[in-house]
């Protein structure tokens, strides 16, 4: 399964491209080395031949034909390594000295093939310089071209094997690298597959070497943590919704069942139907509140933002709830600085204030004093709604804003536990910092509106 895949990995493709480039450069290097080496070898051969010719010329000039022949013989007898071949001809073309087996036909440079005397008659190639030294005496000096071609061949073979090694090693290395990387990528992929299949607890293994893949894995893992947090909160919310809607629906059903079984007069039926309608309205109100919170949390409501008179919102809401508070045996006082303006959604801010104040009015004992304050402080707008009731245990503060959360002692009072969730959603939409504090005694909801 891995094999065809490996050829399609990024790293293998990269390695292949890299190896190809490297091989091309090795080839180019070989070509240059080959060219310059053959140029150098030819040059040296020519220089050697010319030097030999010069020596013979000098010998002839100093000691005539005799000395020339002696020099040739001496040189030929002491041949070693890359020695030269010589030939001395008289005016009739007769060979006077030297072992060069071929006779060049023209003076100057020429190249000829010869058959070696000694040995098995191998063919050889020589480069010959033929010169006339006067009096019809001609001298030929020849260098063995075979040496040059041997060198060239050696260089060629050397570079060819280097080229082969580069390609082979490159392919092997590329495969190895791809395999190693593919394995790590494959683990990431398998983790993702497992998560897709539903196991959200899976995490990408981190090798602890802090390389790029490790960092990628860590980022993926934190993303997965976040997602699983979100999903579990979503699950929680869904479960809460199901539970909190089931309860009133069950109550409704029980009521209707009882009505069917026990009620006889039309008036009684009417009363039962009315109570059923009240239950249904409660359920609808819960749905409506949930949808509203969801819409606010989606953040699209910012299009409704205007320059609003926050003081007016505070006073209107406080004023609206004051008589209801009074009737419930509580007092509601307000101290609101006028003309404080804020950029926000009038309707939502009104509802936020209504929910906070309503919460204070509903969930406090008789005789408490509720206070609503709004003022500007160091450029920030501070809103406070406080009461001197029982307060809330400090460990519950965080959970007050959760959907459907209700304190134990509030379970019996009407409400759906969504009021403060909506407050939180509106506050978040407006970047209002919302804090719940103990007020010694009682509870204080503190709002800090951004300037």
């Amino acid at each position: 399964m891995l094999k065809p895949k490996i050829l399609r990995t990024t790293i293998f493709r990269l390695a292949a491209v890299y190896v190809a480039y490297f091989a091309i450069s090795v080839g180019a290097l070989g070509l240059i080395a080959y060219q310059s080496a053959s140029f150098m070898l030819n040059y040296r051969l020519n220089a050697n031949v010319e030097k030999g010719m010069t020596t013979l010329k000098e010998a002839y000039q100093k000691g005539g034909l005799q000395r020339l022949i002696a020099t040739v013989n001496t040189r030929e007898n002491h041949r070693h390594g890359s020695a030269l071949f010589y030939l001395v001809l008289d005016r009739n073309g007769k060979r006077l000295a030297g072992h060069l087996s071929v006779t060049p036909s023209r003076s100057g440079w020429s190249e000829m093939t010869y058959i070696e005397d000694e040995g098995d008659g191998d063919m050889g190639e020589v480069r010959i310089l033929l010169k006339s030294l006067g009096d019809g005496v001609r001298v030929a000096v020849a260098g063995d071209l075979e040496e040059v071609s041997d060198y060239k061949e050696a260089i060629f073979i050397g570079f060819l094997s280097a080229f082969g090694a580069v390609v082979a090693l490159g392919v092997i290395g590329g495969l190895g690298l791809s395999l190693a990387l593919l394995k790590r990528v494959e683990t990431i992929r398998q983790t993702a597959e497992a998560i897709i299949a539903g196991d959200l607890s899976q995490r990408v293994p981190v090798r602890g070497v802090d390389d790029d893949l490790d960092r990628l894995s860590q980022t993926l893992n934190s993303m997965l943590d976040r997602i699983s947090d979100l999903i579990s909160s979503l699950r929680q919310v869904s479960a809460d919704i199901a539970h909190d809607l089931k309860t009133p629906l069950t109550r409704l059903r029980r009521g209707l069942e009882e009505a069917q079984a026990q009620v006889h007069s039309a008036d009684e039926y009417n009363a039962r139907i009315e109570s059923a309608i009240v239950h249904v309205d409660e359920i609808l109100a819960t749905f409506s509140a949930l949808l509203r919170i969801a819409q606010i949390e989606a953040g699209t409501r910012r299009i409704g933002f205007r320059d609003v008179d926050l003081s007016a919102i505070f006073s209107t809401v406080a004023h609206a709830f004051a008589p209801a508070a009074e009737d419930a045996g509580k007092s509601l006082r307000y101290d609101i600085s006028p003309n404080i303006r804020f950029w926000g959604d009038f309707e939502l801010l009104t509802q936020m204030m209504a929910n906070i104040i309503e919460n204070a009015v509903t969930h406090t004992p008789k005789g408490v004093h509720i206070s609503v304050r709004l003022r500007c402080e160091d450029g920030a707008i501070i809103g406070v709604v406080s009461d001197d009731g029982f307060g809330v245990p400090s460990e519950e503060y965080e959970r007050l804003f959760q959907r459907f959360y209700r304190l134990e002692r509030s379970r019996s009072t009407p409400g759906n536990g969504l009021g403060l969730s909506l407050v939180k959603a509106v506050a978040d939409l407006h970047s209002v910092r919302l804090d719940v504090r103990g007020a010694n005694p009682g509870l204080e909801v503190y709002m800090r509106f951004p300037a």
Partner: protein, 225 residues
């Protein structure tokens, strides 16, 4: 009164039509936007009840086109539960009022009545009367039987709204929207507590009660016995 209802949900439409007929009104029904538009463009209706979500032409476009043709039939939009921006959009498109589904028929009836008899020009009215109650909108003063009644600004607004709809039922939701600008439903009995204070000032010591509670529907300001 002739009412056009443009609503694709047959059950909702039947519910509203039945109620309207029982109250002695005539109701026509169109089940999609196009039919609704053709029916409404005759201009022969006193009120149109238009659902926001409609096949063929949606409610917003329908009302925009009507207004574009210069037809001023009052329109009551029906919007879905939780449509947060629907109200503003609907009013901007030329709607006159809105109602969130699901609704009680009494709510529809009260709003249709309020829309149908909305006076074309309100600026000329400076004094509202109901029996021996007299509300001076300019001086913002209230007298009953010659005696001055001191009202707080919000109580005045409440009474003014009742007086503008004299002899018609206004619902609790209408009052929340129009008097307090609250477009949500508080659990607290805000309307009831304010109303009882207003009643104490307006009706206490007088033989005839002007402000009445209509059970299951709302309130009514009326001098008729």
């Amino acid at each position: 009164m002739r009412v056009l209802i443009v609503e694709d949900d047959a059950e909702t439409a039947a519910y509203v039509i039945k109620g309207l007929c029982e109250h002695g009104h005539f109701a026509d029904h169109a089940s999609n936007g196009r039919d609704g538009f053709f029916a409404a463009s005759t201009g022969s209706y006193d009120v149109a009840i238009v659902d926001r979500m409609l096949p063929a032409i949606d409610g917003l476009s329908l009302v925009r086109q009507l207004r574009g043709q210069g037809i001023g039939t009052p329109v009551l939009f029906l919007t879905n539960l939780g449509g947060l921006d629907d109200r503003v959009e609907g009013l901007n498109a030329g709607g006159d009022d809105y109602l969130v589904k699901p609704f009680a028929f009494s709510e529809v009836m009260a709003r249709v009545n309020a829309l149908a008899r909305r006076p074309a020009i309100t600026a000329a009215v400076t004094v509202l009367r109901c029996g021996d109650l007299e509300i001076d909108l300019l001086k913002r003063s209230v007298r009953r039987g010659g005696c001055r009644i001191d009202l707080q600004p919000r109580e005045f607004k409440l009474l003014e709204f009742l007086a503008r709809h004299v002899d018609r039922v206004v619902t609790r939701t209408m009052l929340l929207e129009m008097v307090w600008d609250f477009h949500f439903d508080p659990k607290t009995n805000i309307v009831e507590t304010h109303m009882s204070r207003l009643r104490a000032k307006v009706d206490r010591g007088f033989e005839c009660e002007l402000i009445r509670t209509v059970r299951g529907a709302g309130y009514l300001l009326s001098a008729q016995a």
